[in-house]
Symmetry: C2
Subunit: 248 residues, 2 copies
DNA sequence: GGGCGCGTTGCACTGAGTGCCATACGTCTT
DNA sequence: AAGACGTATGGCACTCAGTGCAACGCGCCC
């Protein structure tokens, strides 16, 4: 079995071998029933090398997470055009696209994390870093707004929840559904709630669109969210509504 | 020293002693620098007993979490009156009240979890169970609605994020702020976004209040959220608004 | 050829967590 | 009163994750 110049992988042949060996064993005999020694024996490498590539046994289940997080962070840092909520939703779409690049792998991991409590907990800490990055981005964009950090935290949590909802339903369908459509639908709900001008509660957003029109990427199914005190007089509510819609 | 009948604690004197010893050591020399042997030596008990009361070293940092989660779950199962979003917000208020019962302890724990990555990760798995319980409750209440599980997941995430935002800012202030007011403000934002009748998108909610009034415990600062397609005719929007307000 | 950097490996060690059994104490039974 | 029994605790040995350290092999450059 010559493996010399057949498929010259750029950097880490050993890393991939460890991931492959780990998943084989995890799937056939379970995560907790598999020791690191089992993995390195199957991969034919030394035990010490495992911990050189993966700081913990759990990390081998999320081998490209650091890269994925770095990509998302770079995307957020890449520019501030578009509206902030739109941008974090796009960041979430980016993450889902990375999952969708390896459907088989993503499904296997999903089955693992669903069954093993320890892996579920670890996945939470992974997801938390994404959410934290989104919240951090929104906090910067929301500086000066009333309740800026609160809104940032809540919106980031909502985006992550919507993303995960779509991702899980896609994974449960064995990747037969359209992942992009699912996440668009889920994030559309979040964008409809928090995105756009939301004039009455964030009037300063209006200044960015002096023409009073919906702004970039206006689709016919866009929605407007109006928040008003319940005891406000109806005429006042309608007035706010007209200004939010840019009519009247 | 005679400790026979001086302070006859009901159930677990040993458990509390372990918690006290653990926090003393964690605070004075750090979490990772403290071994379980150190804790049991200071508490004067056998090492095996530690793991009888706490399944892991991390659990000693959240000693009453199981009870707190059970209380919240019981509260949710206790009744389905009020509007669902209102109810999960009240559940979050319940949790914050438990934190507020031991301000000093909560602050110490906050300082610990903030600095120790392992504890932060563990706290995430703790918080996740709360969020999951809220989402589960909302899913049941939202069965039949379009995107019921999506809305349930997103709202649960938003509630938890708002709760945590208020909790953290309260803990950072050394418990000098008013925790109740902070969480009311944060959850008010979520309730303003998702709560109440939200007539246009959830008309079935109207049936529960045939009188058309806001329902129980209507406060003057309650708000109504109206979601509508941006391209809808204005008269239609106003019609929906009137029905949402129970006027017209 | 000999030094040098790097990736790999083996080895010993710490510490978390578990299973098993022995012990002590209170209670219930005969 | 003596013994049986359940429960709480302690002690011991073991597995396994993770780390520090010191070799070893290997290509490379001087």
């Amino acid at each position: 079995m010559s493996s010399s110049s057949a498929a010259p992988v750029a950097k880490p042949p050993m890393r991939d071998a460890l991931v492959a060996a780990a998943f084989r064993l995890f799937l056939e005999r379970g995560y907790e029933q598999t020791t690191v020694d089992d993995i390195v024996t199957l991969a034919g490498v030394g035990r010490r090398s495992f911990f050189r590539y993966f700081p913990s046994k759990e990390d081998v289940v999320f081998p490209d997470h650091e890269r994925c997080l770095a990509d998302m962070t770079a995307f957020l840092a890449g520019g501030a055009e578009h509206e902030p909520v739109r941008r974090v939703c796009d960041a979430a779409r980016l993450v889902l696209r990375m999952y969708a690049e390896n459907p088989a792998f993503s499904v296997q991991r999903y089955r693992l994390t669903k069954r093993v409590p320890g892996l579920r907990a670890y996945e939470l800490s992974v997801v938390w870093r994404y959410e934290h990055a989104l919240a951090e981005y929104l906090r910067e964009r929301f500086t000066g707004r009333p309740d800026g950090t609160l809104r940032a935290d809540v919106i980031a949590a909502a985006v992550v929840a919507a993303h995960n909802n779509a991702l899980r339903s896609w994974l449960r369908s064995d990747c037969e559904d359209d992942a992009g459509a699912a996440v668009d639908h889920a994030l559309g709900y979040v964008q409809a709630t928090y995105g756009h001008g939301v004039a009455p509660t964030a009037p300063e957003e209006q200044k960015k669109r002096p023409d009073g029109r919906p702004g970039p990427s206006a689709r016919p199914d866009e929605v407007v969210v109006l928040v008003s005190r319940r005891d406000a007089p109806l005429w006042r509510v309608v007035q706010e509504l007209e200004s939010a819609l840019g009519r009247g």
